[in-house]
């Protein structure tokens, strides 16, 4: 059991790569991230910056043998992630930490009824007979504001709309009363109207049951609306983190700033947007030093070394990985 106050997920400067021909995709280049009990924490970043890898790593769902951890540490519910035997891991998945995926179209087995899939997961972790599990599934569905839960239980996934499926997945995630739910872009595939419903639902349930949520999104606005704290990732590194309001209203890392400035939201119609030049670095040969250096318009000599994520100013809630925000323009010890 997790000691009170101990983070459910605690990654420190985690580095991870996928070996490929002639090298490795350095997917994570220093992820420092933690989620405390009952918190709603967001991770934002552009496509390919390692958000899903981080999420998958938290449940160790990455292809076995297909990746290497090259640095840092990773703990979940107080245990060293790498040391947990696979048996225990399956007991943790779904029970202690549950996950919701991006594509509700494909995240459910198309040839099994919703009920069967839910019941299977429920009975995996709870000592319930089939009927009791079904009852639980029913009540979970009705808590998801689904008006005909019986009907949904007996339906196949393809017979439901995307929003409905995502609600089923959320119900499944809540089914075993986990301490943490990792939601990897749960609404990206949905329309804004449906997205709003799903997000509201997720938040309401989480608050109601004191479940922590790690919400992954590429949409700054979504994260800003929902999360207490936020992590901004770039090229596999957490480059800024802090309370949402601080990060959004006074971003410190040049990347976060540029990202916020690049959104048309808030820009004058028709005006030239402040685009970030270039594109994401190739993760097989990431730039040495600061990962954002090549695209940064304020890069300078010190950027040839990679800055660590460190506090900008006390009380050390707002952190950034940029030499400019660090006290002396020198790498921290």
């Amino acid at each position: 059991m997790t000691a009170p106050g101990e983070p459910l997920v605690d990654f420190h400067d985690l580095k991870l790569e996928f070996p490929i021909y002639g090298g490795a995709i350095q997917a994570l280049n220093g992820v420092t991230l933690n989620v405390g009990q009952g918190e709603i924490v967001g991770v934002v970043g552009e496509s390919g910056c390692g958000k899903s890898v981080t999420a998958m790593m938290a449940l160790r769902l990455l292809p076995e043998g297909g990746y290497r951890i090259t640095g840092g540490s990773a703990r979940i519910i107080g245990r060293d992630l790498q040391a947990i035997p696979e048996r225990d891991m399956t007991a943790i998945r779904g029970r202690r930490i549950a996950m919701i995926f991006q594509e509700p179209q494909t995240a459910l087995n198309p040839t099994k009824k919703i009920g069967a899939q839910m019941i299977q997961v429920i009975r995996r972790h709870q000592d319930l007979d089939h009927d009791a599990a079904r009852k639980l599934a029913l009540s979970l569905l009705s808590q998801m504001w689904i008006s005909e839960p019986e009907h949904v239980l007996d339906a196949y996934p393809f017979a439901l709309s995307g929003g409905m499926r995502q609600r089923v997945l959320i119900a499944m995630a809540f089914s075993c009363e986990p301490s943490l739910i990792i939601a990897d872009e749960p609404t990206t595939a949905l329309d804004v109207t449906v997205q709003k419903q799903v997000l509201l639902l997720l938040r309401a349930k989480a608050k109601e049951r004191g479940v922590a949520v790690l919400l992954i999104s590429h949409d700054m606005a979504v994260v800003s609306q929902l999360c207490d704290r936020v992590y901004v990732m770039y090229a596999g590194q957490v480059i800024e983190s802090g309370p949402t309001r601080d990060v959004i209203t006074s971003p410190k890392h040049p990347y976060t700033q540029a990202l916020l400035a690049a959104t048309p939201q808030g820009a004058a119609p028709g005006a030239t947007l402040r685009a970030i030049a270039g594109s994401l670095p190739n993760l097989v040969t990431p730039p040495s030093g600061c990962l954002f250096r090549e695209r940064c318009d304020v890069a300078f000599a010190a950027c040839a070394r990679r800055p660590a994520l460190s506090a900008i100013a006390p009380p050390a809630t707002h952190l950034s990985a940029c030499w400019l925000t660090q006290q002396h323009g020198e790498p921290a010890p």
């Binding site: 109207t193 309401a204 609306q225 947007l273 594109s279």
Partner: protein, 359 residues
């Protein structure tokens, strides 16, 4: 510019396409797809994707189209360029005649819209070589010019599409669309597949070439802020119909149609806490197999009353008259106003960094 190269075409009547500033005139456009086949080869039913769209696209403007997934935006776009046949209505205007150069399209997915086995210069000049014979040198030269105008370098011309990032690929697609010197470009979610940082580059580029060439855009997106940024006028679509049409300032700041209101209300806004006061409504876009008889939005509308069982027409909003709304109660609804922007347009200045960078 003349409107009709086609001698058999009926001379345009003044009230329709003849107005000199109209690039495209859509009248009651309908598109249905046959669904399945019974044993005699007759369709079992129809998907009513577009159900009577009437709008004029003015020369040089950007008409934005928003709406939720499946409401028929892409189908409309494809109908405009002739990729799917119209089941009803007429499409007129200088850009609609046999000469395919007049209207070009840019697709959402820059990956699949470029042939993976063609070199970039071939891709860019494909519309030209399809029109008439041109020597390889001529084509390459044209490709070079076009590439430059979208920010590609000459050495890129001999590569294949998969060697580029998403943003670069979209640049190639834009260059290709520009090749035949079109008047109108239909953009079907051109930046949806791109990251925010790259989206900005592409939006800038699109606006820049529009200015340079006086292009007319029909810009489809589900992202209200993108539409707000690029389009002067916006059409909101629902179930294959336009439910609200007007200047984007007016429509996006103070939506009148209940659907537009719901849509805009749901758009995530920076640092605006998610409101959960409105009752959670689980309904989604109704099936377009069998169209509802009255107002299409009836089933989901929180303001529905008796009159809503009748089919609605697109009528000028009584207040200002410049916005068209497909709702007879538009005036009766409580006002809903969104501030133009939630955050200052520019990110906070980063003065200290500027200084340091110059060291």
């Amino acid at each position: 510019m003349t409107f009709s190269d086609d001698p058999t075409a009926r001379p345009p009547t003044p009230d329709e396409a003849d107005a000199p500033d109209v690039a495209l005139s859509l009248r009651e456009i309908e598109v249905c797809f046959p669904l399945g086949q019974d044993w005699r080869g007759r369709p079992k039913g129809y998907v009513h994707a577009v159900n009577g769209v009437t709008v004029d696209v003015l020369r040089g403007e950007t008409l934005g189209i928003v709406g939720e997934s499946g409401c028929g935006k892409s189908t409309l776009a494809q109908a405009l360029v002739g990729l799917v046949p119209l089941s009803g209505g007429t499409l007129k205007g200088p850009a609609t005649h046999a000469d395919a150069r007049r209207m070009q399209m840019i697709f959402q997915d820059p990956q699949s819209s470029l042939d993976p086995r063609m070199r970039v210069w071939r891709i860019i000049t494909e519309p030209l070589s399809a029109q008439r014979r041109m020597s390889k040198d001529e084509l390459r030269e044209r490709a070079g010019q076009l590439a430059q105008s979208v920010g590609l370098r000459p050495e890129h011309l001999d590569r294949f599409a998969h060697e580029f990032s998403g943003g670069q690929r979209q640049r190639i697609a834009i260059a290709r669309a520009l090749a035949p010197d079109p008047e109108v470009i239909i953009l079907d979610e051109p930046t949806s597949a791109l990251d925010v940082s790259v989206q900005a580059q592409i939006l800038n580029l699109l606006l820049q070439v529009q200015r340079e060439r006086g292009l007319t855009y029909v810009f489809i997106s589900h992202d209200v802020s993108v539409i707000h940024h690029v389009a002067k006028r916006v059409a909101v679509m629902y179930l294959g119909q336009i439910v609200e049409l007007g200047s984007s300032e007016a429509v996006l700041a103070a939506p009148r149609h209940p659907y537009t209101r719901a849509l805009l209300d749901a758009v995530p806004r920076m640092m605006r806490p998610l409101e959960s006061d409105a009752p959670i409504d689980a309904s989604e876009l109704p099936s377009n197999r069998i169209l509802p008889s009255g107002c299409f939005f009836l089933g989901r509308c929180p303001f529905a009353t008796k009159g809503c069982h009748e089919a609605q027409t697109l009528r000028p909003d009584e207040g200002t008259g410049e916005v068209l709304v497909r709702c007879h109660r538009a005036q009766d609804l409580p006002p809903l106003v969104f501030p133009p922007a939630d955050l200052p347009g520019d990110a906070p200045a980063h003065n200290s960094t500027q200084k340091l960078a110059q060291d």
